[in-house]
């Protein structure tokens, strides 16, 4: 089974700040990491490969330094890393991004399964995975918490729901977005890191993937950010502690004056 994993390099949210002038994310001096959900998608891809054979290709769209997350993916067991990078991609929203990724997938071709993280922790939209599936006209399931039976032409998965989970079967090729419950990502291995250091990362431009100018980057993005702001701090809060019983009686006591 040949699997493609979409990976985004994101700022580490442990240290997030907004530029008060521009209302955009202050990226300077903030460490970049592999989007945490994508680490789970990658782990699932590598586990499926270990079980069923095939290859894993990691794909990322971003500036040249996004190569770092692709090398990390190689260290974790991916076989190939492909970076799509072009100044013309800058400013892309989820609409333009899914178009661009779709062009890249079609250029590379031949994948049985595409895995994405549920969402990226910077934009938090959860739109690119489903958007990519629609662009490629592939069946897809979001919020997958487990992959079950895999056959030559189908995959059965569990989709996380508020009240339990659904069991669904999709024909392959298909696209899945995964939640963190799906697995425990491995730590990149030493031999993997050494291999990744020497590996060549394929780099593709807009022209290489046949992406048309009016559909990529800022030009291809209908979304406009009107305002980004830090929400004002909430009012006074009281935290209860102790057993559930103790916490409930503390709560009742607090509410008593208003009853």
């Amino acid at each position: 089974m040949d699997i493609l994993v979409c990976i985004k390099q994101v700022p580490d949210t442990k240290d997030i700040r907004l530029d008060p002038e521009t209302n955009t994310l202050a990226r300077e001096g903030v460490e970049s990491i592999m989007n945490p959900f994508d680490r789970h998608a990658l782990e699932e891809a590598v586990s499926l490969k270990e079980e069923h054979g095939g290859t894993v290709t990691a794909l990322s769209m971003g500036p040249p330094q996004a190569e770092t997350v692709l090398r990390e993916a190689l260290a974790c067991g991916a076989d190939n890393g492909v970076l799509i990078s072009d100044r013309a991609f800058a400013g892309a929203d989820t609409w333009a991004t899914s178009y661009t990724l779709a062009r890249a997938v079609e250029t590379l071709g031949g994948f049985d399964l595409i895995l994405c993280g549920k969402q990226a922790i910077d934009g938090d939209t959860a739109q690119v995975g489903p958007g990519l599936a629609c662009r490629l006209d592939l069946p897809y399931v979001t919020c997958v918490q487990k992959t079950r039976e895999v056959t030559a032409d189908s995959i059965q998965v569990e989709r996380m729901m508020d009240d339990g989970y659904d069991i669904l079967r999709l024909p392959l090729p298909a696209l899945l977005t995964v939640v963190k419950d799906i697995n425990e990502p491995r730590v990149p291995s030493l031999k993997g890191k050494m291999k990744a250091k020497k590996a060549k990362i394929e780099a593709l431009t807009a022209a290489d993937i046949g992406a048309e100018k009016q559909f990529i980057g800022l030009a291809g993005s209908p979304t406009q950010v009107v305002n980004v702001f830090s929400p004002p701090p909430r009012g006074n809060r009281t935290m209860f502690s102790g057993t559930i019983e103790e916490q409930v009686s503390q709560l009742v006591e607090q509410l008593q004056p208003y009853l």
């Binding site: 990502p185 491995r186 730590v187 990149p188 291995s189 030493l190 031999k191 993997g192 050494m194």
Partner: protein, 382 residues
């Protein structure tokens, strides 16, 4: 400080740090509380190739030396000395095969060790043979094509969890220390079983157990090196493994400092963060000095050993004493800085203090190390 590590050594540090932060720290309190062996963490370490560091490349390893293993152990000990001890003990257990084993034994065991699919253990200590290792009573007698082992080993780290055991036994009891040999005993060998599992003060996630050999029969070719050279191999093994224990001290000391400084910055008493009081700040400064000095001596000793010198005992013992005495002092200081909170199990420093004590005791007590250093001085100034 910059210790001029190679890119490969940096990778080892990063990999071990990844295991510590993602796998060990989230589980350490529970493993300690439950006295539970960290099987899944060791499997994660295997996947990350940490077990392959010390194995030569021809057997599927990375061909690293003492410094490489020291770097890994320091990072793992920042997470939990119990978990790190389980890893270190496997390395200790395979050293005799690496140092003196036949090609046949290396081919049989090293690929599994490198892959991390089998763990090792070192069986020297007995109830009457601790600091005086020459007091061992386990015997091995050749019977046709088999060695027959009889005796009980005590306090063996990884006992019951390892599949490969380096066992020291007397092949010629009349010759004392010169009559000892090392054998590889495998889990499942006839007559080999496990006894009492110990309930310890610290490093509680590590397994410490008795090994019982009752007419334990193993093939003739499991003898490691030549008959009667057991103690020489034991001494060489401990010379190269001790900096690893010292590294556990460095990692543990660093972990204690990493808890104490942020706490002192945020803990307010008398309307000021306590780090603004010189009495507290000086404790932290002394901790930092001791840790860095220990790190420097441990790395220097490891590099000395990797240069394959004629004599490595003094350097090995010096770094073990300094770094483990430091770890004991620094962890006690960390508890003091955290005060009442430090004494509670909600904070990790009380565990660090409990874990530190064993470092001054195992792989040769710090008093025995001072004997070794003193004997070397005696020779040097002869």
């Amino acid at each position: 400080m910059d210790y001029f590590l190679t890119e490969e050594q940096q990778m080892i540090v990063e990999t071990a740090r990844g295991i510590t932060e993602e796998k060990i720290i989230p589980q350490r309190a529970e493993l300690d509380e439950k006295n539970e062996f960290p099987t899944s963490i060791l499997q994660d370490m295997a996947k990350a190739d940490l077990f392959s560091i010390i194995v030569p490349e021809e057997f599927g390893g990375l061909g690293g030396g003492c410094l490489e293993i020291v770097l890994a152990l320091e990072e793992l000990a920042r997470g939990c000395v119990g978990v790190a001890t389980s890893f270190a003990a496997s390395t200790l257990g395979i050293f005799p095969v690496l140092i003196a084993g036949s090609e046949e034994l290396k081919e049989r065991y090293l690929p599994d060790i490198a892959a991390g699919t089998k763990w090792a253990a070192f069986g020297l200590t007995e109830s009457n043979a601790g600091s005086d290792a020459s007091g061992i009573q386990t015997t091995a007698v050749l019977d046709g094509d088999e060695w027959v082992l009889n005796g009980t080993k005590q306090w063996i780290t990884n006992g019951g969890e390892a599949k490969i055991y380096s066992i020291v036994a007397l092949t010629d009891p009349s010759k004392g220390a010169r009559g000892a040999s090392i054998f590889v005993v495998e889990d499942g060998d006839p007559g080999f079983s496990y006894g009492k599992k110990e309930n310890k003060m610290g490093i509680r996630s590590s397994a410490t157990r008795e090994l019982i050999m009752k007419d334990c029969r193993i093939p003739k070719n499991r003898l490691v090196g030549r008959r009667g050279t057991g103690f020489i191999t034991v001494m060489k093994t401990l010379d190269v493994s001790r900096p690893g224990i010292a590294a556990l001290g460095v990692g543990l000391g660093q972990a204690a400092l990493d808890e104490a400084v942020p706490y002192a910055k945020q803990r307010v008493q008398f309307s000021r963060p306590i780090i603004s009081f010189q009495a507290v700040l000086h404790i932290l400064a002394d901790m930092a000095i001791q840790i860095e000095a220990a790190r420097a001596i441990v790395y220097a000793a490891a590099r000395h050993i990797d240069s394959n010198p004629k004599n490595m005992s003094k350097a090995s013992s010096m770094c073990k004493v300094f770094a483990t005495d430091m770890a004991m002092k620094v962890t006690v200081d960390a508890v003091q800085v955290l005060g009442g909170y430090g004494y509670m199990k909600e904070y990790p420093v009380e565990k660090m203090m409990r874990d530190a004590k064993i470092l001054q005791i195992y792989e040769g007590t710090n008093q025995i190390q001072r004997n070794v250093i003193g004997q070397e001085l005696n020779k040097e100034y002869a």
